[in-house]
């Protein structure tokens, strides 16, 4: 054995001495936790794919720096009619796609038509192409689409007609999923557009070079880019390194220049190091604990409020989150442009919690609860169908808003025990199963979940969850609040930011007064970098552009 080891290490040393030196100075190497799904942003929902296309593709609008505010991008300006139904976009001139074809009003119309019309030759839904975000943001396809017409008036003017006013319209257009692709390239590639063979063909500062599945996506600087490239990156290698310890090792060994979400316990090492540093992405997410309203006891506002008062949010944030995280009092996070209500407070007060539980009739504590039935119309009945322990479901995955579901659930259970509520931790299987059970309203108890906003608009935050809770919704634990729903529906159809802001704040206040749900934390995402990287502009949506990066 010893001689074998000797030969092995000898062979190793010979090979190492012979290994060539690599790495160019202006190649930016990013360690992602996985492989992109597809590089056509219209078809994907995952952050990794969009991270890649964001480097090379652009939309009509964009977000300003590290904020959730919208600014003109491929469109240089826009106007909206008084009724909020007709939007006229003036496009920038002199832009070409990476394949040399011109970016113009026809190209914009072609992209919108491809997304929204199922009979468009490149829509290809019959072949399994799913335009999930178009459907989610614009109500559906064909007649169901809120965008009813897109017209190219002249070379640089596009008119988009809506069937009803939409407060989040510009925020939607700034989303990565609505980046404009070269029509000629999509037509030439057909169903292969966005696959490893073709990649993307857009207008942005980096061009697609190659994609080796599960290895890396390579992009290079677009020398004909219409705009400014502040940094010096000439080549991007977007690598898939699934193991978090290996990503950290790769950064230490200099194999990559940065990666997302180091383990919380590695952050002090990075911050104490001479050649690495941490940058925080502003948090645009919310972690919550939801009630399932089929639990008879949870229908009593006193019980819900007692549970809210019992949970020590600050202790949870201190113990499990990074130093930039903050306690959440509302669904909308403080980083949102409109609709954050700073007046809503959810204090920690176990004594008050005990008093409320006693008032509600549970002076001796609560360890078992009654599950109510659901009738054919989806309404909750008075009939008790079973009696079960108080369950606290925890998420089986790590999310920016939830660094450790089970450990946090343990802390929550301890807080609840301190006021006399005996909750048992419950797992609902893997992530797909958990989501499926949640969506069908089957997590009978308290359950963890959270949300990361897509477009900076409150309609995609509190509005996304509760605009239709005039009926009890299984996916929201049968929560029902017609007043909250009415406010959110009103706000989504307005275009004046000030009016909308007031309505969202009112909805948050109302929702908090009901203790409708328990908000725990907003967790910023840490990003780890080699010290050769500077100029990084963190984005609340993770939409960071490598064109700002300067490498030493």
């Amino acid at each position: 054995m010893r001689s074998v080891l000797k030969y092995l290490s000898l062979a190793m040393i010979i090979l190492i001495l012979a290994a060539p030196a690599v790495a160019q100075d202006t190649t930016f190497r990013w360690g992602a936790f996985g492989n992109p799904v597809q590089l056509d942003p219209a078809l994907v929902t995952d952050g990794i794919s969009l991270n890649v296309t964001n480097q090379g593709c652009e939309a009509l609008a964009s977000f300003v720096g590290s904020t959730t505010e919208v600014e003109p991008w491929l469109a240089e300006s826009w106007e909206v009619s008084d009724d909020g139904l007709t939007w006229t976009f003036k496009l920038r001139e002199g832009i070409t796609f990476h394949d040399g074809t011109p970016f113009n009003a026809e190209a914009v119309k072609w992209n919108f038509d491809r997304w929204r019309l199922t009979d468009h030759p490149e829509h290809r839904d019959e072949e399994g192409q799913v335009y999930e975000y178009y459907e989610a943001q614009f109500g559906g396809f064909d007649d169901a689409s809120l965008i009813t017409n897109v017209e190219a008036l002249d070379e640089t003017t596009v008119v988009i007609t809506l069937s009803q006013p939409m407060g989040a319209f510009l925020n939607n257009l700034a989303m990565s999923n609505f980046q404009i692709a070269s029509p000629a390239a999509v037509e030439a590639a057909g169903a292969a557009y966005g696959t490893p063979e073709v990649g993307f063909v857009c207008t942005g500062p980096f061009k697609f070079v190659e994609w080796t599945p599960d290895v890396q996506v390579v992009m290079e600087r677009n020398e004909n880019y219409w705009g400014e490239i502040p940094g010096n990156v000439t080549r991007i290698e977007y690598k898939a390194i699934p193991d978090s310890a290996a990503r950290f090792a790769a950064l230490q060994a200099g194999e990559i220049d940065g990666f997302e979400q180091p383990n919380v316990e590695d952050i002090p090492t990075i911050e104490g190091s001479d050649n690495m540093h941490i940058v925080y992405r502003p948090s645009f997410n919310t972690f919550y604990l939801a009630f399932n309203y089929r639990i008879q006891e949870f229908r009593d506002p006193k019980v819900r409020q007692a549970i809210s008062l019992a949970i020590n949010r600050q202790a949870i944030v201190d113990a499990f989150y990074n130093e930039e995280a903050v306690v959440a009092n509302t669904m909308n996070p403080p980083t949102i442009a409109i609709g954050f209500n700073p007046d809503v407070k959810t204090p920690y007060d176990p004594e008050q919690a005990k008093a409320l539980l006693a008032e509600a009739g549970y002076a001796d504590g609560l360890s078992e609860v009654n599950v109510l039935g659901v009738d054919d119309n989806g309404n909750i009945t008075d009939e008790v169908v079973e009696t079960i322990p108080v369950r606290l479901y925890y998420m089986p995955v790590v999310r920016p808003y939830n660094p450790d579901g089970e450990a946090i659930a343990n802390a929550m259970a301890a807080d609840l025990a301190a006021v006399g509520i005996t909750a048992e931790l419950a797992s609902a299987g893997d992530w797909s199963t958990y989501l499926s059970e949640r969506s069908n309203g089957n997590l009978l108890g308290l359950y963890q979940l959270g949300w990361t906003g897509d477009n900076g608009d409150p309609d995609n935050f509190i509005g996304y969850f509760f605009h239709d809770v005039d009926e009890p919704l299984p996916r929201e634990g049968f929560y029902q609040s017609p007043q909250v729903a009415a406010l959110l529906q009103q706000a989504r159809a307005l275009t004046d930011p000030a009016e909308r802001d007031a309505l969202y704040k009112e909805a948050e206040a109302l929702h908090a007064a009901e203790s409708g749900r328990i908000y725990i934390a907003h967790g910023p995402v840490p990003l780890a970098f080699s010290n050769r990287v500077s100029g990084w502009v963190p984005s609340p949506f993770g939409k960071e552009l490598y064109k700002f990066v300067t490498l030493q």
Binding site: M12, D46, V130, E132, P196, T433, L435, S436, S439, R475
Partner: protein
């Protein structure tokens, strides 16, 4: 011999069909589906239903199964649910990576494990024997991710001797023919790529070969011990044969059957993808891919790749059977 081979081939067909039905049904029995996985936190009953409809998941199960199988018979493995990419392309990109790593790890394990087992058996209860068997115990007991991370930190981060990400530095250009980088670089005379591919193989192979090495050494030892106690070995020694011919010609040949079996089984296991090793070393093989696909409920990938793996198992068993026949004439007659 020919009838034996034909019979074995025919026997594999029901196995493949059985696997296809099993994996198809199992996937649909576990909760969650591709629509949920695509939507994540956005999963609401309405948009789940809409996506299920578009993905054809609302069709009756027998119809879905027939659509899949008729595609397979035409050589079409289908497209991924997420991204709608032809699975055959994805498989072609990943499978050679798994094959290359498995073959290297397995060759090392066999080349080192068999002699170690023989020496341990011949020198039973010696220091070599006890330390080999202790090493083997350690080899099967140490968790792969612990070993992998230790190796990464020692050779990759501290000593900076060896790369630990992927199969090739991205500065190295290699024209791929077989997808096995070692083979491709030799075929194209690309010595830089050969060196680079080899040093990338060292750490993953060292991580992956520990378990098979330990198992092979142990099986070889016990199989040899059994044979060495046989009468014909005593006879061989009694008629004055040297220790070397006794061990190599008489004992080893008769001890080979279980060793071949275990090497075949271990190779089959490695070829179905080593999830942990591939994950730790960002090795772009099928193990991690399959794992992710199960998590994402990407039915077509899981179904088709599982079937391909089943096929490989069948082929390896087939080869093992042929080797049996070559090693042991009695099997040929039977």
């Amino acid at each position: 011999m020919t009838t034996y081979l034909i019979r074995r081939t025919l026997e594999s067909i029901p196995v493949i069909i059985g696997v296809s039905i099993l994996v198809f049904m199992l996937l649909r029995l576990i909760p969650g589906d591709p629509a949920i996985a695509i939507l994540g936190e956005r999963a609401t009953p309405e948009n789940v239903a809409a996506i299920r409809e578009r993905l054809g998941l609302n069709k009756p199960l027998p119809e879905q199964y027939m659509i899949w199988v008729s595609g397979l018979l035409r050589g079409d493995l289908g497209n991924t649910v997420r991204g709608n990419i032809p699975i055959v392309n994805e498989l072609r990109a990943r499978f050679p990576a798994t094959v290359e790593l498995s073959l290297v790890a397995m060759t090392l394990a066999a080349v080192i494990g068999v002699p170690l087992g023989i020496i341990s058996a011949v020198r039973r209860n010696s220091i070599i024997d006890t330390s080999t068997m202790f090493g083997a115990l350690l080899g099967v007991s140490i968790p792969i991710f612990v070993l992998g991370l230790l190796l990464i930190y020692l050779f990759g981060v501290q000593l900076k001797w060896l790369p630990f990400i992927g199969r090739l530095d991205s500065g190295i250009k290699l024209e791929t023919r077989t997808g096995l980088f070692v083979v491709d670089s030799i075929l194209t005379g690309n010595w830089d790529a050969l060196k680079n591919a080899l040093i990338h193989l060292i750490l993953p192979a060292m991580t992956l070969f520990t378990v098979p090495l330990a198992i092979i050494a142990r099986i070889t030892r016990s199989s040899m011990l059994e044979v060495l106690n046989q009468d014909y070995i005593r006879t061989a020694r009694a008629k004055g044969l040297g220790e070397r011919p006794v061990v190599v010609t008489h004992a080893l040949r008769n001890a080979l059957l279980p060793i071949i079996t275990i090497i075949g089984l271990q190779l089959g296991t490695l070829l179905s993808g080593a999830v942990l090793t591939e994950t730790i070393y960002a090795w772009p093989g099928i193990g991690k891919w399959l794992y992710d696909s199960i998590i994402a409920r990407d039915y077509p990938i899981v179904q088709s790749v599982t079937l391909v793996i089943a096929l490989i198992y069948v082929i390896i068993n087939f080869v093992v059977d042929i080797l049996y026949a070559l090693v042991d004439p009695r099997i040929r007659v039977a």
